[in-house]
């Protein structure tokens, strides 16, 4: 094999400009794919982090039918004490769940005594909510870190639109399940920045204040937000919680629904599109490698027909001739993949150091932090090398099947 390597290597050097050109083409393709993967990965990770860590959590559990009518914030689709007792068995025993938080979601009227507007609210147990959504505090502006009873964190769209200041007293008026109206005074203790996805524009109050204004007698919860120990455990956790989906209520109908952040967030479709684009670019890369190597190897065979005839006449077995040409294609692929990987790592490192900012929707000054995972580098390199080898098969077989007499006659 050492000698096959030596001859293949020297044959590549024989036409070094062509070798360099082909390797450069492969390198360019690898760089394109890896840099795109790093950039899209950075954007994807940031957005997933934002959505799951500051708004939605990884998994949510509701009473059956809640999500379908979430825009109406229905109060008749809350989980009661008995349901929570059942669900807590699963939540407390799960090996994947790090923490969970109860929320009451409702809508009401927000007034600063000058003007009034609609508001959507999440009523939370602050300690549990902040433990479940560790990045939520990053979205809260002018917030001192504690949300007590009688306090409200107002969406920035309302504070700006109604000129509400921190420390102002406002009135929250809401209808309860049966339609009767109630109101409470609350003190503004922070603003919450918007984020894409459901619930991304909601304000926050203490769960006890929600019970008070909604005149809830027992325990009621609109949703349970779950944080996993690792987002990659999502499938396993969903599987573990799946018995909940089969639980029937008193009317013998399904009682609960469970959704992952992927099912709830419209951003998941963007992620899927990014992944599809990634695959498309990989297919383009594969085509580039395939055509380049095939072209070079076919030319190589046609240029060396007499030489192939000579070595065949001398007694070189056909399989050795195949190996010689496969090795040439393989070396070209390895060269292109290696150069591409090194160049990509340098480019990604450079982009990371440049701290490039970008905007997404209404969010701006997001820092691009491209990271090239070793796994991606290995996968792309292996694909390139494998395709190089595959592209060399046909020319190599052609070379091995040449008739020595005909080949020796060629000039």
């Amino acid at each position: 094999m050492k000698n096959i390597f030596k001859i293949a290597y020297r044959n590549l050097l024989r036409n070094h400009r062509r070798t360099l050109l082909t390797a450069s083409l492969i390198t360019l393709g690898v760089v394109f794919v890896l840099v795109y993967t790093a950039l899209s990965g950075s954007f994807k990770n940031y957005m997933i982090g934002q959505i799951t860590d500051s708004s939605m959590g990884h998994i949510q559990i509701h009473k059956k039918g809640f999500v379908a009518s979430v825009e109406n914030l229905p109060l008749d689709k809350n989980l009661n004490a008995k349901a929570l007792e059942y669900l807590e068995q699963f939540l407390n025993e799960s090996q994947y769940i790090q923490s969970y938080s109860y929320r009451i979601k409702f809508g009401g009227m927000f007034s600063n005594f000058v003007s009034t507007t609609n508001i959507r609210l999440n009523a939370i147990d602050p300690d549990k909510e902040f433990a479940t959504l560790p990045s939520l505090k990053d979205r809260l502006v002018n917030f001192n870190g504690i949300l007590n009873k009688g306090e409200i964190i107002v969406p920035d769209i309302i504070t700006k639109g109604m000129d509400v200041k921190i420390g102002d007293t406002v009135v929250l008026v809401a209808n309860n399940k049966s339609g009767s109206v109630n109101g409470i005074n609350l003190k503004v203790v922070g603003e919450v920045e918007r984020i894409s996805g459901p619930g991304g524009r909601d304000g926050y109050i203490h769960i006890e204040d929600a019970k008070k204004v909604l005149r809830m007698k027992g325990v009621e919860v609109s949703e349970i937000v779950i944080r996993l120990k690792d987002v990659n455990m999502l499938k396993d956790a969903m599987l573990e919680l799946s018995p909940i989906l089969k639980k029937l209520n008193q009317k013998e109908k399904l009682a609960f629904e469970i959704h992952s952040w992927e099912q709830l967030s419209p951003f998941y479709n963007i992620i899927k599109m990014l992944d599809i684009m990634n695959i498309s670019i990989q297919i383009i890369l594969i085509s580039i490698v395939l055509i380049s190597i095939l072209n070079v190897m076919i030319m190589s065979v046609y240029e060396r027909i007499k030489e192939i005839g000579t070595i065949a006449a001398m007694g070189t077995p056909p399989k050795t001739i195949v190996k010689l040409f496969l090795m040439e294609g393989l070396l070209l692929g390895i060269l292109g993949a290696m150069l591409g990987a090194i160049l990509s790592m340098l480019i990604v490192q450079g982009l990371d150091m440049m701290q490039i900012t970008y905007s997404f929707g209404r969010e701006s000054n997001l820092i691009l932090e491209p990271i090239l995972a070793l796994k991606d580098v290995i996968i792309i390199s292996v694909i390139v090398v494998a395709i190089s080898l595959i592209a060399s098969i046909s020319p190599a077989l052609k070379a091995s099947r040449l008739d020595p007499v005909e080949a020796l006659r060629t000039n």
Binding site: I7, R14, K306, G309, A313
Partner: protein
């Protein structure tokens, strides 16, 4: 050593069947220095290719060193050539990316798979014999045509073949170089008792061979031992 009986070679050209070798029979003994001569198109190269197991006869039997060639497949024929037969070509056909030493080494590595120390002994001996030891690290583009043919001879002999086939080995050489090459092959034939079979027009070779076989239209019209050999 070589026993060819009633070899025929036909080609299909469109609807026509063209017979280029017709009932060709020949026995060649070990250590003979033979030349196939004849006008262009007489079938010299075709006979040489068939005897050298490069081309397959359409019919007839060919036995070389006791091996019936007809029963061998393509790979077995390649292995047989690698073990028993050497070739010298008109255009030398050295591998341009390998040095003189590596060109001679090629059949020992790629075909016979000999260990390095054994290769070295054989190659250096042959390099001295063909007078190319000093040039051993040069690539073919750095040496003359005569030197290239010396390297080709060394390459053909390095596997210790019993038979060497040479198709117009002096056609691309000047007269003096051609003469030196013929002398070299003759010396090797005597020292190693190697059989040499030439296909040539070159008078210099013809005047040096032991046996002269004349072909016309694919048939042997004359088979004589020259002054160098014994009249048949």
């Amino acid at each position: 050593m070589i026993s060819a009986k009633n070899l025929n070679k036909t080609y299909k050209v469109g609807e026509l069947t063209l017979t280029v070798i017709h009932d060709f029979s020949l026995d060649i003994n070990e250590g003979e220095f033979i030349s196939l001569i004849g006008p262009s198109g007489s079938g010299k190269s075709t006979v040489l290719n068939m005897l050298g197991c490069l081309d397959t006869p359409t019919s007839g039997s060919l036995i070389i060193n006791g091996q019936d060639i007809a029963i061998l497949n393509k790979t077995q024929q390649a292995n047989f050539r690698g073990e028993h037969i050497g070739f010298i070509f008109q255009s030398f056909n050295l591998i341009p990316v390998l040095t003189v030493y590596e060109n001679i080494e090629y059949p020992l590595i790629m075909i016979q798979n000999l260990p390095e120390h054994e290769r070295k002994v054989r190659i250096e001996k042959l390099l001295h014999e063909v007078g190319m030891y000093e040039q051993k690290d040069k690539t073919p583009d750095k040496i003359s045509g005569g030197q290239m043919q010396r390297v080709a001879i060394a390459r053909a002999l390095v596997t210790n073949p019993k038979i060497v086939f040479a198709d117009e080995p002096t056609a691309n050489l000047d007269s003096t170089t051609a003469h030196m090459i013929i002398e070299l092959m003759k010396k090797i034939q005597k020292e190693h008792n190697t059989t040499f079979v030439f296909a040539t027009h070159d008078e210099k070779i013809v005047s040096n061979v032991d046996r002269l076989i004349t072909l016309v239209d694919g048939n042997i019209v004359e088979d004589i031992y020259t002054n160098n050999g014994v009249q048949q």
